[in-house]
Symmetry: C2
Subunit: 738 residues, 2 copies
């Protein structure tokens, strides 16, 4: 009782003083608390000159003036006359100084890049924030403010930065009724019912946050699409959002339902080769652009998980994508066509399994491996897509698992631009309660060599166009944002939004640097704190892999809601919705044989890549059970048997969470009370869930291995039947449920 009472009082205090409720994200701009740094900044910044003649520059100027005034606790205004130690910001069109500077130095900044540079011009020491475009200036302002918020020295700055990828897009799986598919942070921030009349201030704060990390596109609606989105009633609502986003350099995209011509206008077909259908889409697209001149284009999920698509009419993905592309091309819009398809072939090969229990081992593996579907569907159409089509490929071949090898499509499409799609929302990564910093997951994929064009053809270089010379490039993240006060539910979920934006701009940034700068901006510049929490963040993803799906295991989560472990599930409607389909545990061993002896999914990779995985004895153990069915007594590199190694991984995963808890507890004095308690409670939940995962999985796999959990480990505190009995009818993230 006493402890509780103290918690109350602490929380009460934080109400009265400055509440750290997380709403401000990494854009806090509180007064610099280190006196030496503050002094340096005050000494080196005497004033600002910032001519603005557009909404974007107006925003950039206000941002700079407000935040600088707050950081330095010193009033700044826009000054007519430049003096020594001034910041001068603008484009060659708005600032003579910038014009002079750009004449003297040759920068290749493109449409979005910027320069921040300390220069002596006309005898005055200036800090220049300069770009060719208004939006470049805004990006430069945010970068400059980041330097200050992370306490970097500004005595000598020389930064020239341009984004490596053109289209840096956040995908919202938000429905019109404000539910979010796989959303764990409340409901959609888009209040469709109140649009266009009511502009929630949150829309502006959202756009500001996006721009601060360089995100320049937003897909507003769920890929499981609703035709109503395209009615004029909703398009005026979309326009209202687009108007808010426009000055922040953000384009709006929609998800057209393939059957919209039927749904909205009662056409008899949605066949993409039908002239009436093509005409309907052209007119619809023209209508959209009449509302939103800088509309970005479409993201399409077709013929996947029940969505209609061109195959409904015996047409190809290329036929479907090209229909949209032709409608969008006159307006410079693009089509992002998702490669996440696994309908047709699997349905055919598993139709024998019906609704009942699935005998996973009886599957015709060679034809049915879901990991092969995307490649099989799209590889044949390489070169068949219009120039304004990108194929959007999930990072791995299955579905946003804690760990997957990269999708074999990266490196396989030499004539078709590929976007990579990451999932920020933690559908399979502990949802709203687990601290998992995803930058290492993103980086692991981006840095993997596809050997598409010889050594060095990393996924990043495929995606950014270097390897294949794509003329359009893109990267997408599935949003983890909802209407909770702190946007992402878990305070550390914000780091994944931040990391995605930063890597989309520059995939060469290290996970460590991103964690470092996010922590400094979001929490504190204290190096003890930053170093300790950085360790938590950098190990968090591997920790989760260990207690959920070590050694290449995958997709053994609870059916449908994907909450918690359920490796025993064998009665879901489709074979490849069942965990048993993926882990294939039996009395001999465990794992999905994807070599030539099995589904030969491995054959979809370049031969150099295959070599890393094809031999069970040399295979990277992180992917061992992904590619091999391995005997329980197989000798691992550690010297342990596979079973003992599995136990070791699951137990060390839990241990790591406990270490995270202890580390966090020691940091109490560095963190505001509100967020300290919040993270502490969530880490306790995470520890419980990690134990649950470990116990449930090991007890279940033990029914096959028949081997004991080593005696030196703590014993599971429930039996398998208990874990199998758990039900979560209102687990969040599923369509109608929240």
């Amino acid at each position: 009782m006493k402890e509780k009472y103290f918690v109350f009082c602490f929380l009460l205090i934080s109400v009265a003083s400055h509440a750290e409720d997380g709403y401000r994200l990494w854009l806090r701009y509180d007064k610099i608390d280190d006196p030496i740094t503050l002094k340096e900044y005050r000494n080196n910044i005497e004033g600002i000159q910032f001519n603005s003649n557009s909404p974007t520059l107006g925003i950039a100027k206000q941002e700079l003036i407000n935040d600088l005034s707050s950081l330095l606790d010193k009033k700044f205004t826009d000054q007519k006359t430049i003096a020594d130690k001034f910041i001068v910001a603008g484009t060659p069109l708005t600032s003579a100084i910038v014009k002079t500077f750009f004449s003297a130095y040759n920068y290749n900044l493109g449409k979005e890049g910027f320069v921040i540079s300390t220069k002596n011009i006309n005898g005055k020491n200036l800090i220049l924030i300069a770009a060719n475009s208004d939006i470049g200036v805004l990006y430069g302002v945010f970068e400059f403010l980041r330097l200050l918020q992370t306490h970097q020295s500004i005595k000598k700055i020389s930064i020239a930065s341009i984004p490596k990828i053109q289209n840096r897009i956040l995908d919202h799986w938000d429905n019109l009724n404000r539910t979010i598919e796989r959303g764990y942070a409340g409901i959609s921030i888009w209040n469709w019912h109140l649009l266009p009349g009511y502009i929630d201030k949150r829309y502006i704060d959202y756009a500001r946050a996006e721009a601060s990390v360089g995100i320049n596109g937003v897909v507003l609606t769920n890929v499981n699409a609703n035709s109503l989105t395209l009615t004029s009633e909703y398009l005026i609502k979309v326009k209202a959002l687009a108007d808010v986003f426009h000055p922040y350099g953000i384009k709006v995209y929609l998800t057209p339902r393939f059957s919209a011509p039927i749904d909205i206008s009662k056409l008899k077909t949605a066949d993409p080769l039908d002239a009436d259908v093509q005409n309907w889409w052209k007119q619809k697209v023209d209508e959209i652009y009449s509302y939103i001149p800088d509309f970005g284009g479409f993201l399409v999920k077709a013929n996947s998980e029940g969505q209609p698509g061109p195959q409904t009419y015996n047409r190809t993905h290329a036929d479907g994508a090209n229909m949209f592309a032709d409608a969008l091309a006159p307006h410079n819009g693009i089509v992002m066509w998702r490669a996440f398809v696994y309908d047709v072939r699997v349905q055919k090969s598993t139709e024998n399994f019906g609704e009942g229990k699935v005998d996973a081992n009886a599957l015709t593996i060679a034809s049915a491996d879901r990991a092969k579907q995307a490649y099989n569907e799209f590889k044949p159409f390489d070169g068949k897509f219009r120039k304004n089509v990108l194929i959007q490929v999930k990072n791995g071949p299955i579905d946003f698992q804690p760990r997957e090898p990269f999708s074999p499509l990266f490196g396989a499409m030499h004539q078709t631009p590929l976007m990579v799609e990451f999932q920020l929302t933690q559908e399979y990564l502990g949802q709203a309660t687990n601290l998992v910093f995803e930058a290492p997951l993103f980086k692991e994929c981006l840095e993997t060599d596809t050997y598409a064009d010889g050594k060095g053809s990393t996924v990043a270089k495929v995606v950014d166009g270097t390897t294949e010379n794509y003329s359009i490039t893109g990267i997408a993240g599935v949003s983890n944002i909802g209407n909770e006060r702190n946007w992402t539910g878990h305070p550390f979920g914000q780091a994944n939004w931040y990391a995605f934006g930063r890597l989309a701009w520059d995939h060469d940034l290290s996970s460590e640097q991103i964690a470092d700068e996010w922590l400094r901006q979001t929490f504190s510049n204290d190096t003890y704190f930053v170093d300790a929490v950085k360790k938590i963040m950098l190990m968090s993803r591997e920790t989760m892999v260990n207690y959920m799906t070590p050694l290449g295991l995958h997709h053994i989560m609870g059916t449908s809601h994907h909450y918690g472990p359920a490796p025993w599930i064998d009665n879901a409607g489709r074979a490849d919705w069942n965990p048993v389909y993926y882990h294939r545990a039996d009395l001999i061993g465990i794992g999905f044989e994807r070599t030539k002896n099995g589904s030969d999914a491995i054959g979809q990779y370049a031969s150099e890549v295959q070599k890393q995985w094809e031999d069970i004895n040399t295979c990277d153990e992180r992917f061992l059970l992904w590619f091999h069915h391995v005997a329980w007594n197989f000798k691992m590199k550690s010297g342990r048997t596979l079973w003992d190694e599995l136990c070791y991984k699951y137990y060390s995963g839990v241990d790591s969470v406990r270490w995270m808890q202890k580390t966090w507890d020691d940091l109490k004095k560095y963190v505001d009370e509100e967020r300290f308690e919040q993270v502490k409670m969530l880490l306790a939940v995470q520890e419980k869930e990690a134990v649950w995962w470990r116990n449930a999985c090991l007890l279940y796999f033990q029914t096959f291995s028949k081997m004991p959990i080593p005696a030196n480990y703590e014993k599971p505190d429930h039996d398998l039947e208990y874990y199998k009995s758990l039900k979560f009818p209102y687990a969040p993230g599923i369509g109608g449920n929240l």
Copy 2:
């Protein structure tokens, strides 16, 4: 574009400075901005002595110290030694001064009352905040802070306050999946999925807000109930919330689904006279109290709108309520049994109408009038309920309409305590977009004389127990709270939460005083601003009645979502779900004949009450069409015909909204930019909706009256077919949808 740009900049500024996002409600406690008042306060408060030995007193003390420090911009702490001009707070058990004070003066404060008094004790001028109980002290602290926030003089205070009603309860219609039935401010703040491990700080802020207005009970779950709530898995979640609320004096209540013994434990029946069923409930209630020793009890909706209940087993409401009452009595729990039932009789009398078009005028009115159902169902059981049962009666006989006469049950149950149930959430009152201050609606009901025990037997006196000597008393408000940042969606929705709490404590407070103090605390003490906005608030409900349902019209809203006008609907599944059932417009006139010539619903009232309404020529015109079917050319008191009066009312409603807009626009300089813009946008939406209501209703009724809209009024800008064509598939507030 330019205007938009300015809006951006203003909003941007408010991000950087102190954001008025509405989260702080009326508990802002910013530094007193009036120098004279500030000086008075500083001169009269030199220190605080506040001994605390309980969580409740700890909270009260922190609240007083923090808020006073903030209001006076002067650091206060708890002092050991009392000096002149000290605040001394506590109970006789915690403070010798309070003990002395209570010995000297005789207060009857009960369990929750408090005294705030300036007294000279032992030669020191003190401000005493004293009570018999810890919670009384907390209430006193909030009252004292309210004095300061509203700039009252504190030189001479003498306040003794006790609540007039014992159980002051907020009912949440929140579902376990976080949807809220009739919720318009986001989803439920109860995150069931994360409970009990994660205690959202919002739970504490919620409890604090409730306590600040004296609310002492919370029904956590929807009256359309889910049996899962009563499983131990959920009860530990309920306990976690109860633990947060307990020190704020708030009891937790649940809504048991009548069929829970069947749903949870597979009993064969839920018959309330079955011994196994009774035993099941006793055990379940014992289990609940083992988790939550101060659990409040049950709120039950039975045999209404599809909910199971005792009538399912041919038992009576008394049988059902008494079963729960017997289980709860040993723990001092109460049953609140809702009188909102209209199932059985209406179903019987209208079964001929089937699913198709309803001929409302062909109804057997005498037996089928929904307005009569509650009285008919409950009056016969007066005296048949256990002592710990209250019957919870909606303010009016139909369903939370913009205006209804009071329910005839008030005054009819001499041996059964009645609670009044108001609806704060604006289901029928413009939902999230209309500014409607509900205190005048609550007061209109509470102040009406039922003549139950002779003249002066107002609804308030029935409810507070004065008239009938009830030993238990209660009042309930259906919550308008969701997880939007400002709690209620519309900033002025907060005023309805506030007003409910204040009137539940003291129904003698005037609407004007409540508006006044809410405005001062929530916005500003500037008298020009307060006077102007008070006018808006005080006229807002009448304004809405005028543009929605003037002259006694009711229930002509869109079916199911109740959004917007739809008086033409005649095909809803049940007769009394159809607007045509309620307005009964025909070529002769309009209105529901409820005199002896019709359904004789009027006969359920005392004869003195009947006299006010029974004669069409003298009937209070606010209820004319509620009680009479009136000819279109009937001469109104204004001299206008009924039709012209109807036009006049609808047009003046719109005019009033436009006046509200103009008034608000003139107040720009008194309001922070964020909330100014927010309310401005919402008033613009309200104006559109008012015009929509006016045009749709008049055009529709005109098809019967065949009379012209007077030429001096602006013409409707759409035709009736347009209004009839509008569809809102994702209007919020309906179960699965949000």
